[in-house]
Amino acid sequence: MLGQKFQTSVRNIFFFFFFFFFFFFFASDAAEGFKVRLSIKTALGDNAYEWNRNQRFLFQAAIAFAMSHHLDLEFNVSNILVCDETPRVSFWFVVTSPDDPSRLVGKESVELAVRASRSRINNILLLNDATLEFIGVLPTLAAPVKPATPSWLIVFGVVIGIIGAGIVFLLVSTVVQKKRYVADCGLVPIVAIKSDNLSLILFGLHSSKENEVAEEEDDDEEAQMKRMAGNEGICNTSFSECDRNTQM
């Protein structure tokens, strides 16, 4: 029994040195490994946890979960090897195959596995894409939310509807006022004589000569006008807009 333990520990030491030298030669090359960088204090501020053996264990477990989930094989924590830790909290890791611990899993599979479960890994370590960086692995960002109608179009529609209604209202009220003026006074402006500082608008009875040239000023400019003597229209002077000012 002791011999067996001795054998396993020798084998473990052998593998340890194997991978140690493996990393020593290939760490900067990063043939199959990924560099990870954590910014725990940036992410959590006062609630930041200390990076220690247990946190590292949690990280290894998370990666093992991601690999198992992606490749549908049973990965163990011992298959995730972490080394070269720095005070920054950055390190390298490689993944060994569960069937054959001397073989490393390809970089592409690891990348795909990490990308697939990225948000899960982030949540396990209470970090996010910016504070848990896998150097070389591109994040998958959330798809932009595209509403059926762009929101700006809705606001635009409301505004132009109100303005359009306002214009229609003003135009209609102009026409209505003119009609009311004609109906009230029985008068139709026939001729307006304009000189530099003087303007006369002569009114006549509403005649059938529709093609009479009628010079119209702005409809609510009844302030200055001279009324013809022969006015036979029924003008309720208290309410109509026919003749507001007294002519001297």
Binding site: I40, R88, W152, L171
Partner: protein
């Protein structure tokens, strides 16, 4: 005595507010702060106020006098002074037409930004994600999100002025809206304009005041205000300073475009325009200075934020390259750490030198921007960093809109008034005239930003000629005035 059948302002207040609304426009917000910064901060006020006294108030007074006494638009008024000067009036109408063509495009941009402010995340706050969803769009990353939103999503700018990029439907719709609103404001002539100016003249001040409070409480705002008010007196020796001061007064008050003549022509004959001219000129200059305080507070905030972001990026670069613990470098000791690391690890540090940015608050503050770049890029960048940015964004772009619309009213009135004076056109109903004219102007949606810039630069040439003629005839007008009185 029968009175002229001409429209009148319902009260002198309406006239003053109309002039204020016309004079206080986008130039007060985006041109004056730039000039202040370029020409030595507080020292620029000296040539500015001097020019106001020598050039601004007299010309303003002159235009109001011509309009009020002649009671005609610019063409009629100038022809009445002397038949040979009718061309000035015509030139000013044509200039106002050019102005109308491009000015409403800026209003269209304001509408676009205003409508896009009603979202939970402002669209210019972050770069959109690229098609692979692996990161932000490349174009946006090279520039900044605000620049990307303005040049790509708003304008969809083409590579050069020769290339026609086609009509952008969003912009075309906003442009249509801008013209429809302008039509609504002038549909009844002075009667409708007179009511509208109560709002367009006063609302920008409300927003500016709110922004003053908000701006002053921002982190780093005082850096900007201090920078603005430290005068660099040596700039006064530079003749460009004086030229720019004169030009700014001229354009800010809107002299020579015929709008003031048009507005004044609707006055009562014995209106006291002398006092009103001084009041409006002082209000206009006061607003410029007020707006530049706000702008510099915003500048200071933006510069401080950018500076601190630069320091943070440097800090992270150092942390990552030298694998130091996170809390060993803070924003405050970045520079000391750079020194220390340079001495302890010189070769490694040398590798970094090309990636290391040069962070300087002075540099950030001295990046002066004017025009649409300031209003739509720099300001929106500052707004996105404020808490509750949607509210500030809506307020700001609504203010820009009011400023722009107020000036548009003046420009349009400068065109409609002389046209109305022509006897053959007074047959046709005013609404129809305005309608037709609006349809013609709507065709200007084919103009893009490059044209806008070009027109801004060159529109000034014609009124400058008008100015010289005006001053020459100042005495004649004065004599006329005495005669009329």
């Amino acid at each position: 005595m029968a009175k002229d059948a001409r429209d009148n302002w319902e009260s002198p207040t309406q006239f003053v507010l109309a002039c204020v609304s016309y004079a206080v426009g986008l130039g007060n917000v985006w041109r004056f702060p730039y000039l202040c910064q370029m020409h030595g901060g507080g020292g620029f006020l000296i040539p500015y106020l001097l020019m106001l006294l020598l050039e601004g108030v007299p010309l303003f007074y002159l235009e109001l006098a011509i309009g009020q006494k002649m009671r005609l638009g610019s063409i009629g008024a100038w022809t009445a002074i002397s038949p040979y000067l009718g061309g000035i009036g015509l030139a000013s109408v044509v200039t106002s037409m050019y102005l109308c063509l491009y000015y409403n495009i800026i209003n269209a941009w304001s509408f676009w930004y205003l409508f896009h402010s009603f979202q939970s995340v402002l669209p210019w706050a972050a770069c959109p994600v690229n098609s692979n969803r692996t990161g932000p769009m490349e174009e946006c990353e090279k520039a900044s999100p605000t620049q990307y939103f303005f040049y790509r999503e708003t304008l969809n700018i083409s590579p050069s002025i020769e290339k026609n990029g086609g009509i952008q439907t969003g912009q075309a719709l906003c442009f249509l809206l801008a013209w429809v609103i302008t039509y609504l404001f002038i549909i009844r002539g002075v009667k409708s304009t007179g009511k509208v100016v109560y709002f367009t003249a006063t609302f920008p001040y409300v927003v500016l005041f709110i922004y003053l409070i908000r701006g002053m409480t921002l982190h780093g705002a005082l850096n900007g205000v201090k920078y603005m008010f430290t005068p660099k007196m040596e700039e006064l020796a530079n003749p460009t300073t004086w030229i720019n001061a004169a030009t700014q007064i001229f354009f800010s008050l809107g002299l020579g475009f015929g709008s003031l003549i048009a507005f004044a022509s609707y006055n009562q004959y014995h209106n006291n325009f002398e006092r009103q001219a001084i009041i409006v000129s002082l209000i206009n200059s006061g607003t410029s200075i007020f707006a530049s305080i706000v702008t510099f507070a915003i500048y200071g905030f933006k510069a401080t934020i950018n500076y601190e972001n630069c320091l943070d990026r440097t800090r992270i670069l150092l942390l990552n390259s030298f694998n130091l613990a996170e809390d060993s470098i803070t924003i405050n000791n970045v520079f000391e750490m750079i020194e220390k690391l340079n001495t302890t690890f010189p070769e490694q540090f040398a590798e970094l030198s090309n990636k290391l940015e040069d962070c300087s608050l002075e540099n950030e503050l001295s990046t002066a921007v004017e025009g649409a770049g300031l209003a739509f890029i720099v300001y929106s960048e500052a707004i996105k960093n404020m808490p509750l940015s949607q509210l500030w964004s809506v307020l700001y772009f609504f203010m820009l809109l009011m400023l722009g619309m107020g000036s548009m009213l003046g420009n349009i009135t400068a065109i409609t008034t002389p046209l109305r004076d022509f006897k053959f056109l007074s047959h046709v109903s005013n609404e129809i005239v305005k309608n037709i004219r609006n349809r013609i102007f709507l065709q200007s949606k084919y103009f893009g930003k490059s044209f806008c810039v070009m027109l801004v630069v060159f529109k000034g040439l014609l009124p400058k000629l008008i100015c010289t003629n005006t001053t020459f005839f100042y005495n004649i007008a004065g004599a006329l005035q005495a005669k009329i009185k």
